[in-house]
């Protein structure tokens, strides 16, 4: 009666990540464990971020974001206070249908997204330097290590594939 869902999930990718970092004996143990766990585990039915526009993908460094500072005015947040806004903003109605407006995150949104990526890296045993929302050299290095270990292009960008592998969702409730 219980509905079993299959597909890519954080549980699996977590096991994956650890397996890469350890030797062969551990790998076998982990595989056996994962197989055992699969009887009980529920993994997500689809990639975490399916059909969601990723406005963070082009941001590899926080400093480059400074050039978009004017976009902060588009944010629904007021001033410097932290506001929780959904990562995905629907396309504004006034934009011409032929050329959709490029969606850019607000400074707060970007900072929060970087913090979440840093937390995910840290939780998986990578060292992003600090969980502070700054795309530091150390964070980039940790991202590249993580990407390389998961067969992703090691470019330190928050691509949808990288976010999926990290278990970081683009949309929020």
């Amino acid at each position: 009666m219980r509905k079993t869902l299959t597909v890519i999930g954080t549980a699996l990718s977590a096991v994956h990540g650890v397996a890469h970092a350890s030797d062969n004996a551990d790998k076998t143990n982990l595989a056996a464990l994962a197989q055992h766990d699969s009887h009980y585990a529920t993994t997500l039915a689809a990639p975490l971020n399916l059909n969601v526009r990723n406005m963070y993908a082009s941001h590899s460094s926080h400093s480059s974001h400074a050039s978009h500072a004017s976009h902060a005015s588009h944010s629904s947040g007021s001033g410097g206070t932290y506001r929780y806004t959904p990562a995905y903003t629907p396309q504004p109605v006034y934009s011409p249908p032929t050329a959709p407006a490029r969606l850019l995150p607000s400074t707060d949104q970007l900072k929060l997204m970087i913090m979440r990526v840093q937390a995910a890296l840290f939780a998986r045993g990578y060292d992003p330097g600090a969980i502070d929302g700054e795309m530091s050299a150390k964070t980039k290095e940790a991202m590249e290590l993580f990407q390389a270990a998961h067969g992703l292009p090691a470019n330190a960008k928050m691509t949808t594939e990288t976010l999926n592998a990290l278990g970081v969702a683009l949309t929020q409730q």
Partner: protein
């Protein structure tokens, strides 16, 4: 047994909030806003993550050491010996009473949405005796809880009381689940009487991608069923309700509690289900939970499961040969003949499951559902004994 409510220390809480316990992964995943989450400072990774993360607008902090909570922010400290609160769980804090209650446990096999204490039946073996109280406030709280349940939770049980007494609000809860938890199977435990008495079953048609109604039927005859549920007319309402649910294309499970009077006509009941309710997808034959009204009616209800074996074998055989899926709940393996083991499920919720001293040497303990933690000697079968290796090898 783990109590699900505990006295805690807490400070600076404004209202009675429902809170999701968060670690780093929950923050990273972003499925829930920090404002609804309780950051678990007891977690080594969270503590190692630095102070910037604490400055986010968390609802509050869970800690063993109140001094570790950031100044002027709400915190909760759960004392040793209280129930365990883990990352991913949802808790309800009543700050004025300093009480913390567990509302959702991540990874548990039986998370429930408790809809109401009211019921229109008064079953002899009811484990959750009904109370005539006005608890309509539960609906909005459940809708709030549903939003904080893990998106990959395999299943939730909607129970009570009698959930259909909520009227339209039950539909609202199901809709809310369909919106927030489309991958989570819903199991609604109802006596189905409302659907045989005017409530339109078709309002549930197509409402949820995966919903099963678990409906009890205790006899092939109204006299027996009405006696067990202590309500005149219940049998005909439930039967009409079953047909109404079938007409509304609902998935239906029949649940039979194996008390003495029911056992006496179990084979007839199996025939009745096969002939008259062929759309039923699953029949659960369940041992009695020795709590609530059941304890008061021991003499009328108790039958040693060891004495049930011949009838159980026949009934299970009858149904499974006719492709009706059948399962046995709440009966330890050692009281069942081995051919029935394949039908036995580990049905007792993890938080109320225990094993007896005899189970220590049993080779099939891992497969066995064990006992309700409130089982007493007189509710325990004389046939309890460790299953030895030889017996298992045959299987």
């Amino acid at each position: 047994m783990q109590p699900l409510e505990a006295k805690v220390q807490c400070e600076k809480w404004p209202a009675a909030p429902l809170l999701k316990v968060a670690g780093l992964a929950e923050f990273a995943a972003g499925a829930f806003p920090p404002e609804r989450m309780l950051l678990d400072l007891r977690d080594a990774q969270v503590r190692a993550a630095g102070s910037a993360i604490c400055r986010l607008p968390w609802a509050g902090f869970l800690t063993d050491v109140p001094e570790h909570a950031p100044p002027n922010r709400p915190w909760i400290a759960v004392p040793q010996g209280a129930f365990k609160v883990g990352i991913g769980d949802v808790v309800e804090l009543r700050p004025h009473a300093s009480k913390l209650a567990l509302r959702y446990r991540r990874g548990s096999n039986n998370n429930i949405l408790f809809t109401t204490e009211r019921c229109n039946s008064y079953c002899l073996m009811c484990s959750q005796p009904p109370r005539e109280v006005n608890d309509g406030w539960r609906v909005s709280q459940l809708c709030d809880l549903i939003a904080l349940v893990d998106k990959d939770a395999p299943s939730l049980t909607i129970t009570g009381g009698e959930p259909t007494l909520l009227g339209k609000d039950l539909r609202q809860i199901v809709v809310r689940c369909a919106e927030m938890l489309p991958h989570t199977h819903l199991h609604v435990l109802s006596n189905g009487r409302a659907f045989g008495d005017g409530v339109p079953a078709h309002t549930f048609e197509g409402l949820h991608p995966s919903l099963t109604w678990g409906i009890p039927l205790y006899g092939d005859h109204y006299g027996l069923h009405d006696y067990i549920v202590q309500s005149v007319g219940a049998f005909s309402q439930t039967i009409r309700g079953l047909y109404a649910l079938e007409a509304a294309k609902q998935h239906i499970e029949i649940r039979v509690v194996l008390v003495k009077p029911v056992m006496e006509r179990l084979i007839e009941l199996a025939r009745f289900i096969y002939r008259n309710l062929p759309f039923v997808e699953h029949v659960a034959l369940m041992g009695t939970e020795p709590i609530g009204f059941a304890r008061a009616h021991y003499d009328d209800l108790w039958m040693d499961p060891a004495d049930m074996a011949p009838v159980l074998v026949k009934a299970v055989d009858f149904l499974s040969k006719r492709n009706v899926r059948v399962s046995l709940y709440n009966l330890p393996l050692c009281v069942l003949p081995e051919p029935l083991w394949a039908y036995s499920r580990k049905s007792i919720s993890d938080w109320k499951r225990q094993y007896l001293p005899a189970c220590e040497q049993c080779v099939v303990k891992e497969r066995c559902g064990g006992f309700f933690s409130w089982t007493t000697d007189r509710w325990t079968s004389r046939a309890i004994e460790p299953v030895r290796g030889a017996s298992c090898a045959k299987h």
